[in-house]
């Protein structure tokens, strides 16, 4: 009988208490015996599709009779749309439909009741949409739409928006408190300190630039809506479409087979999906609405720019107080990430005050971007910790060690389910050669090059939790299909779920296939927050066990042998002295499909499930040009059991690469006067290329199962490796040169400026 239980889950830095439905009892923790699949490096089971060009992404869906939609976007950062004249556009041959605020039906989206606002609030805000026979016609028609805009005062810059001169965009102002935490007595600790540092850090806006842009293809058969969408959460898109269109869940199907990257930005329904659906329902034809690269960089999310003030106090070789205040540019976002999250939890500092503010501006809404808030906050915090260590004259790693060993979450007081952060430090220090580090840096490969070593710590969630369900269908030929409503956003979800199933069921990996990315399957959570494996994996294991029990029961009947004497290994039913192919047994039962069911059981509400890690960086800085060469990154992570060492390593390398972009080159430029994104393309927005890869990346895992986390002992890995790299690089640069760069990305100009400041001081 299903029953309702309380669960406690962490998601993207926040803790949620929920009621979930569970059935039966959880499986005991995977034992330590040798496993056939888990902990073995396995190539991706969907590799053939991905390398052959056959993998079908949303962008690759072309349906008979399909119309192409292009969206007219506001060229102004803030304006009232007074009048729209579409007569000329509609007269263009091939134009089949136009939607805008004067003719579109109400459609609820993120707290508003329309997708075409009267007051457009950023350059890129949706004004109208046109469906036409082909893309060129739709684009040409956009140019024929006449819009009468009444321009309104705007502000796009974070620091300008905080100031007194900025136009108020909301009735209660542009700045809102979004998170706060206080423990101990910061003022007293600062008064009593031996050393205090006070510094301001900034991080620039980072654009996701997923290679597949946001988009959807919608079809309507008069009764049911089917939407193909590049998304991290098919069920989330279904929810958003239900809210917008008022259709029941039973009439909406959302499909995402393969998807070309999201990094947090594809968490739910988009205006493009609603536009495609509205046109599909109105015109009765398949509709494709896929953003261009330029639109992607205006209206599909970003990592907020931040301004952060940190004050740290130290006494007797320890950190005694931290004060952290953060302002983040949410653009037109309805929420904001919390850069003070890591500050509150990494170190057991007794006196702490943190405040996080959301700042509204006339820029595109933020969206989650791989460890939102934590990347920005960790850069600032970990830079500040090094600054304090230098001021106190102590080794920065030794200072961290004193505060990183606590088995309890210093914010909530709960015990961690498991924690090996000190072990991460030990491994990382050995791999980078921390003992070579000198307080004045090292000689570089030329007179004008200085070399330095730095490190930074990482904390994140990734414990996952319910609800997540899976089924395992075993076919008459002995092959199995795992079905779960999750997505593979490039992390290798299909492969690890197949490994878990094959391992538990006792069949070959080649005999397991995985069907995901479809709302016609058991519910699965959003592929975000590094929760997928820890949420869905344990459910797959239970489903595989359920199927196995049924198979052994069937085999007992067919072989006339007690079930207790039977095992299932490598696709064979093994009894005393005999091995029979599973397919042979099932062949004797008339066309039988065995269906195993599983659901994720709740987390222990008295524990905090976290991931930990540390990155170490060795850099060379050319003091003539300010160029930073990242020579070596050592990434060490404590994420529980490693299911697939091959794909886990890839995740870490990819995270380090994206972090190198955040640390060195990636920043969106917004023109303050016009509110326009000046580099919304891949030419001028600098995503790392193969030439920007650090000379050496060393990936290490503690690799100990977290036995209190879930029945597999696994936690997540998607986000942890992007978190600490920028701080480690900034600390290495400071170690190399004495120059402290407090603004990420550490561009050459900023490095030269910091070198000049350091030189003036010396």
């Amino acid at each position: 009988m299903p029953r309702v239980v309380k669960s406690r889950e962490e998601f993207e830095g926040e803790v949620y208490e929920s009621l979930v439905l569970v059935e039966g009892s959880d499986l005991p923790q995977l034992d330590g015996a040798e496993h056939t699949q888990i902990a073995h490096a396995r190539r991706r089971i969907d590799g053939t599709q991905r390398v052959s060009g056959h993998a079908r992404y949303t962008q690759d869906i072309y349906l008979p009779g399909m119309l192409f939609v292009r969206v007219l976007r506001s060229p102004y950062p803030r304006a009232r749309v007074r009048r729209i004249d579409t007569k000329k556009a509609e007269a263009l041959p091939g134009v089949r439909g136009v939607l805008h605020r004067f003719n579109a039906p109400k459609a609820a989206f993120r707290g508003e009741d329309t997708i075409f606002r009267e007051e457009v609030r950023f350059v890129g805000d949706e004004v109208a949409a046109i469906a036409a026979d082909d893309e060129d016609t739709a684009a040409e028609a956009l140019r024929l739409v006449e819009v009468d805009y009444e321009l309104l005062p705007h502000v796009v810059d974070l620091e300008e928006a905080i100031g007194d001169m900025a136009p108020p965009l909301e009735t209660d102002g542009n700045v809102a408190e979004s998170a706060t935490h206080k423990r101990g007595d910061v003022r007293k600790a600062i008064r009593d300190a031996d050393a205090v540092i006070d510094a301001t850090y900034r991080t620039s806006t980072q654009l996701h630039n997923s290679l597949e842009t946001h988009g959807a293809v919608a079809t309507w058969d008069g009764e049911r809506l089917t939407v193909y969408e590049s998304t991290q959460h098919v069920f989330g898109v279904r929810q958003g479409l239900r809210t917008a269109l008022g259709l029941p869940f039973s009439k909406i199907r959302v499909i995402c087979d393969y998807m070309g990257g999201g990094f947090g930005s594809k968490g739910g329904v988009g205006k493009y999906s609603i536009v495609a659906s509205l046109f599909a329902m109105r015109l009765g034809r398949p509709i494709r609405c896929i953003l261009t690269r330029d639109e992607e960089n205006l209206a599909a999310g970003n990592r907020s720019a931040t301004l952060q003030q940190l004050r740290l106090a130290g006494k007797d070789g320890r950190i005694t107080a931290i004060e952290h205040t953060s302002w983040a540019n949410a653009g037109q976002g309805k929420w904001v990430a919390n850069p003070t999250g890591p500050t509150n939890t990494i170190y057991d500092v007794p006196n702490l005050t943190s405040k996080s503010y959301k700042v509204i501006t006339n820029a595109g809404a933020l969206s989650a971007f791989r460890a939102p808030g934590y990347v920005e906050g960790t850069f600032a915090l970990e830079s500040a910790v090094d600054e304090l260590a230098i001021k106190m004259g102590v080794d920065p790693l030794a200072l961290r060690r004193k505060h990183a060993g606590s088995p309890k979450d210093p914010m909530g007081g709960k015990r961690y389910s498991d924690k090996h952060l000190l072990e991460c430090y030990r491994i990382g220090a050995k791999e980078i050669g921390w003992e070579r580090r000198r307080s004045g840096g090292l000689r570089g490969s030329a007179l004008y090059r200085r070399r330095g070593i730095g490190m930074a710590t990482q904390i994140w969630g990734g414990g996952g939790g319910p609800p997540a369900y899976a089924t395992v269908h075993v076919n008459p030929d002995g092959t199995a299909v795992v079905t779960a409503g999750t997505q593979d956003i490039g992390t290798g979800t299909r492969t690890v779920l197949a490994q878990v199933c094959a391992d538990e069921l006792g069949v070959d990996l080649a005999d397991v296939d995985v069907r995901i990315g479809d709302t016609e399957t058991p519910y699965g959570p959003i592929s975000a927050g590094s929760i997928t494996l820890a949420s869905v994996g344990p459910a797959v294991r239970i489903a595989a066990r359920d199927a196995k029990e049924q198979l052994l029961g069937a085999a007992a009947g067919v072989l006339e042998t007690p079930k207790a004497e039977l095992r299932l290994e490598a696709g064979m039913i093994v009894s005393k002295g005999a091995r029979t192919r599973l397919g042979e047994i099932l062949g004797k039962v008339d066309n039988n499909t065995v269906i195993g069911k599983g659901g994720r059981h709740p987390n222990d509400p008295d524990l905090s499930q976290r991931t930990f890690g540390a990155h170490f960086a060795e850099v060379e800085v050319d003091v003539r040009t300010g160029e930073i060469s990242v020579e070596h990154v050592v990434a060490v992570h404590d994420i529980g059991r490693i299911v697939n060492p091959l794909t886990a390593r890839s995740q870490v390398e990819g995270g380090v690469l994206q972090a190198v972009g955040f640390a060195l080159t990636e920043e969106r430029f917004l023109d303050r006067a016009t509110g326009r994104v000046m580099n919304g393309n891949l030419e001028n927005y600098k995503v790392p290329t193969v030439r920007d890869v650090p000379a050496k990346i060393t990936v290490k895992f503690v690799d100990r199962p977290d036995r209190r986390a879930n029945n597999l002992g696994v936690k997540g890995l998607g986000e942890p490796p992007i978190i600490p790299t920028a701080g480690a690089i900034a600390n290495a640069v400071a170690n190399a040169t004495g120059a402290r760069v407090r603004h990420a990305p550490l561009t050459r100009a900023r490095v030269l400026e910091a070198l000049a400041v350091a030189g003036a001081r010396a």
Binding site: V51, G53, N209, L211, E212, R293, P688
Partner: protein, 166 residues
């Protein structure tokens, strides 16, 4: 011969087969492959020659299909990712090109969206340089962005494919 401005007929060879298409003169090779010929393996990411996801081989040279007009390929040999696989009916990886196999072995992709372009760049490299060094591979894919950051494995796959072919 002056043609256009309306749609025109043109003939080219795609993956070894002669095809005729009817497209406007301004239609890119990429859109022609994807929309007229149903070859969606080549991806549209930037549509302005900055990312390499649309890389195909035209007369043995890698080109950005988004920066090449279909009409400019009249009479030429175009190879796409779909043409590398010898026999798609074979189960699993049989029939895959050595570079495709090397990509799977080295885990040289995550979301896979840039993968066809990366592979085509390396296939073109191997024809000119059968045993490339790491730096040869880096140069070959320097114009192919991978947002997931699979570069270290892409370079390894390129080098391994060269070794395997010998």
């Amino acid at each position: 011969m002056l043609r256009g401005p309306g749609a025109i007929d043109l003939g080219l060879t795609v993956n070894g087969e002669a095809v005729r298409v009817h497209v406007p003169p301004r239609r890119t090779l990429l859109d022609t492959l994807r929309q007229s010929l149903g070859l969606t393996g080549s991806k549209r990411v930037c549509d302005e020659g900055t990312c390499g996801a649309c890389t195909v081989i035209v007369d043995d040279r890698p080109v950005y299909a988004c920066m090449t007009l279909a009409i400019a390929c009249e009479g030429k040999h175009v190879e796409t990712i779909e043409g590398l696989t010898k026999d798609a009916s074979g189960e699993g990886e049989r029939g895959l090109h050595p570079v495709q196999r090397a990509f799977i072995d080295a885990d040289a992709f995550q979301c896979g969206f840039c993968t066809p372009g990366q592979i085509m760049s390396i296939v073109a490299l191997l024809r000119a340089t059968p045993s490339p060094t790491e730096d040869d591979v880096r140069r070959a894919v320097a114009g192919n962005l991978c947002r997931c950051g699979a570069y270290p494995n892409i370079v390894a796959a390129g080098v391994n494919a060269g070794r395997r072919k010998k």
